[in-house]
Every structure is written in C-alpha cells, then in structure tokens.
C-alpha cells in the first residue's frame, strides 16, 4: 500500500477517533517502513490538527477532541519507544503538569499529545505536581519550556509559586514558563510574569513553537 494512503488512513483514524484503526494503520505503516516520526507528524498529528480546527469551528465537541486524542495516544504507545531508541532532534523539551492540588488533566493531556505530534520531547509529570517537582524535572531534562495547567479557580493560585520556584532555581529567563487550564486567563499570565498563555491545545503548540523560534533568533 502506498505511503500516502497509509498516512491518510491514519489521519482519518484520529479524526474519527477510531482507536483500533489508529493502532492497525500505525502497525501497517511500520511494516511498510514508514519512519515512526513521520507516522506521528504526517499521520497522527495532521489528524489532530483537523480535529482542532473542527472544534474551533464548532463542528466538534470537547468530547470529540478527547476521543481523537485518545486514539492518537493509543498509536503513540507503539511509536514512542521507537523515538526514544533513535536519537533525533526535537523542536524542544517541554515539562508539563497540573499544579499542586489539581487532579484534572484532560486538557493538559491533549496538549502533551499535540506537542509530541508537533515534534517536541514532552515530560508529563501528571497531576498534583509540586513546584519542586516542576523545577527538579526541568533541571534533570534541561527543559526549554515548563507548562503548568490549572483547571480549578482554587488551584490556579499555585501557578505563581511555580514561576517563583523556577526564578529562584536560576532557570528563568532561559527556561520559558507557560500556563493554561480551565480556570486560567490571559491577564493572569501577564500578572504573574509567565512567558505565555494558551487557551487551547492548538494555541499551546503554536506558543511553544514561537518560543523556540525566538530562542534561535
């Protein structure tokens, strides 16, 4: 089967949130010798971009996005080990997490998936992440960007703590700090001195790309 056909089917599997097809077309692509990274960027990720656009246009609900992200993640479980084995140049290293006391992660997980799809090396610390864990991971992996998510109005107040911890560890301004989440808003990001704010996963990817490009200039 032609490469273009496999990649197109993989895109569709994500757009239609067909978990089984996402897995089987991934395996098919690997068998046909398509590089794993290409399956991610030209297949899965392109599917998620279409999904993101459908959501922006109001054609998809948030549940559709989450399902599509789930289908992409199924495929990534097969592909990510290949990426770890073969050294490759990533666009940047991103440490992500939901802040302390926050146990929500759906939005953050979609961001992580799309960042991987876009070519970033992502370290997802999960939920209820302390400021110390953010800092320690950023140091360990030599992160370029740290992203802190907060879904609740009571937990977004921890986002300045992470900024302060990064500052005190001497990581900023080299390491960029971005925030997002259901409770968060643009003005808040400005108030706490974050380097950026993203309203949704697509914006998060574009923000990270922009921050990395600015670094190269």
């Amino acid at each position: 089967m032609k490469k273009e056909e496999i990649l197109s089917n993989l895109q569709n599997a994500v757009v239609l949130a067909n978990f089984e097809d996402a897995l089987s077309w991934t395996e098919c692509g690997l068998k046909e010798g398509i590089p794993p990274f290409e399956l991610i960027t030209e297949g899965l990720s392109k599917g998620m971009i279409i999904v993101g656009q459908k959501y922006e246009d109001g054609d998809y609900y948030v549940t559709d996005m989450i399902l599509s992200s789930g289908a992409m993640n199924e495929a990534l479980t097969i592909l990510l080990p290949y990426l770890k084995k073969n050294k490759r140049k990533y666009l940047g290293k991103v440490v992500l997490g939901s802040v302390a006391d926050d146990i929500h992660d759906i939005g953050k997980n979609i961001v992580a998936t799309m960042l991987i799809g876009a070519g970033f090396d992502v370290y997802d610390l999960g939920v209820n992440v302390s400021k110390e864990e953010f800092v320690n991971k950023a140091i360990e992996v030599q992160a370029d960007i740290v992203g802190a998510s907060a879904f609740m109005s009571s937990t977004y107040l921890h986002q300045p703590d992470v900024k302060k911890a990064l500052d005190e560890a001497g990581l900023t301004p080299q390491v960029k700090y971005i925030i997002g989440g259901g409770a968060v808003y643009r003005q808040w990001a400005r108030e706490i001195g974050a380097d950026g704010y993203a309203d949704d996963a697509l914006e998060a990817v574009n923000l990270c790309k922009a921050l990395m490009s600015a670094r190269e200039v």
Binding site: L67, I103, L157, A183, Y185
Partner: protein
C-alpha cells in the same frame, strides 16, 4: 537623631496605613449597613440547583429568579443569562447573586441600577455546605470529592447522565472510555443532605452513581448558614463582593486578598 526621625516616620506611616485599613473596612461595613437600610426590594438571581435552599429561608421578603443549570455547560451563555436578568431587575434596590465564579461566567457581570452582591466563591458548593471553611475541610478529607445535592440530581449533569448521552452519541465502548477519562480524578461521591423531603430517593440515586463509578459514597450535612447570611447581608466582608452601579466583576476579585 536621624534614626529617631526615621523611626518616628515609620511609626507615623504605620499608624496612617493602619488608619486607612480601618477606614476602608469601616467604609465597607457602612456600605453594607446602608444597603440593608435602603433595600426594601431585593432580587435574588440564583442557580436552579439551590432553589429549595433559598426558598426555605424566610428572613426577609425578596423576589427570586432561578436560572437553569444547563447554562453552566457554556459559561459565556450563563454570563449573558445572568446579565439579562440583572437588566430586567432595574426596579430593585439590591441584587444578590446565588452563584460563584462558575467557570468564569461571573467575570464581567455589571451592576446597572443598584448594587449587586456576589459571594466570593468559585462555585456554589460552599453555599450548600454552610461556609468556605467547611468546603476546604471536605476537600482536605478527600481531594477527589464529587459533590452532589438534590438540585444537581434533578437539574444538573453527572456521570450517569453523561454516560447515557455519550452512549447515544458514540456507542457504549467510547462512552465507557470517556467516563473513565472525565471521572478518574474522583475517589468519593459526597451527597450534601440539606434535610429536605425525599432524601431517600436522592440518596438512592447518589448510591447508584457511586456504584457506577466504583467509588465510595459519603453523606454530609448541608447547612443554610452561608446562604442565610448572604441574603441578610450578614456575611464577613471577605465573603462577598459588592458591585456598585456601573462596576463590573473581575476574576481578581475572587482571589484571596493575600494573593500576589
């Protein structure tokens, strides 16, 4: 000499600042008192889920409008609906909102002809539990608590309703997957019992929900104290926000005073 002068200056400044704080607090108390004296006609605009609780309080005469819970699904729609009700309430002397920040819906809400009082809370659970402190206590007991009261069961969303909806939209397999994704943070259902009739029916539903999610069920007592204080404008100053005519609510007003 210089040290003495700078010390005196510091003490003077401290007294001045202290006086300013006392004056500010005193002005807030006076404003509350003023509103209470003047407000003969009070309008309550509240969420449907606490209709029973609010109507059970009979301390003073007020008119109430209860907004359907469904608007919570889209905070911008909830915002517009609340603002619409405020606009329709121009002949009242005071409006009290029975909402928290509610996903940002209250952000930008504007008082028009009269003051609008808003509880300084993120969502309505503290109102049902009786205080913000009680809410923090319950969250400390179990951070993954899914609170439920009879109003939510009647009018709101929950995992059972979501499952039925998603099963229709996507089929059983995907619906199950979505339930796991959305509800995985929760480790207990806490049914808030406000002592109304038909408790057994609602408790039975709460049990069905907890069984469905395979998490435990606790029953906790609701308390009308916070709602009663709000309706009588008896809350501590830190518990609510007063919007004067023309003033808009901002998210920053809902933050604790010592934040930033």
């Amino acid at each position: 000499m210089e040290d003495t002068l700078s010390c005196a200056h510091a003490v003077g400044m401290g007294c001045l600042l202290g006086n300013i704080n006392i004056i500010a607090e005193s002005e807030e108390r006076d404003r509350k008192k003023e509103i209470m004296l003047v407000a003969d006609r009070i309008k309550i605009i509240a969420c449907q889920v606490m209709e029973k609780e609010i109507l059970s309080i009979d301390n003073r005469k007020f008119d109430a409008t209860f907004i359907q819970y469904k608007y919570h699904d889209h905070p911008e729609q909830l915002h517009d609906r609340i603002q619409e009700e405020i606009a329709h309430s121009c002949d009242y002397q005071c409006i009290i909102l029975g909402f928290g920040l509610c996903g940002g819906a209250i952000d930008g809400i504007q008082a028009i002809n009269c003051p609008v009082i808003i509880p300084r809370i993120d969502d309505c659970i503290p109102l049902l539990l009786g205080s913000r402190e009680k809410y923090e206590q319950e969250k400390k007991i179990e951070s993954g608590t899914y609170f439920l009261n009879h109003g939510w069961i009647e009018y709101g969303n929950d995992a059972l309703k979501d499952f039925h909806k998603w099963r229709e939209m996507y089929g059983e397999q995907k619906a199950n997957w979505l339930i796991k994704e959305f509800y995985k943070p929760y480790t207990r259902v806490a049914f808030i019992n406000s002592g109304f009739d038909d408790k057994e029916r609602y408790l039975s539903y709460a049990k069905k929900l907890s069984d469905f999610l395979n998490i435990k069920l606790d029953v906790i007592s609701g308390h009308l104290g916070f709602i009663r204080q709000l309706l009588n404008l008896e809350c501590n100053n830190s518990d609510y926000i007063i919007l004067e005519p023309g003033q808009k609510a901002e998210r920053s007003m809902f933050r604790p005073n010592d934040c930033l």
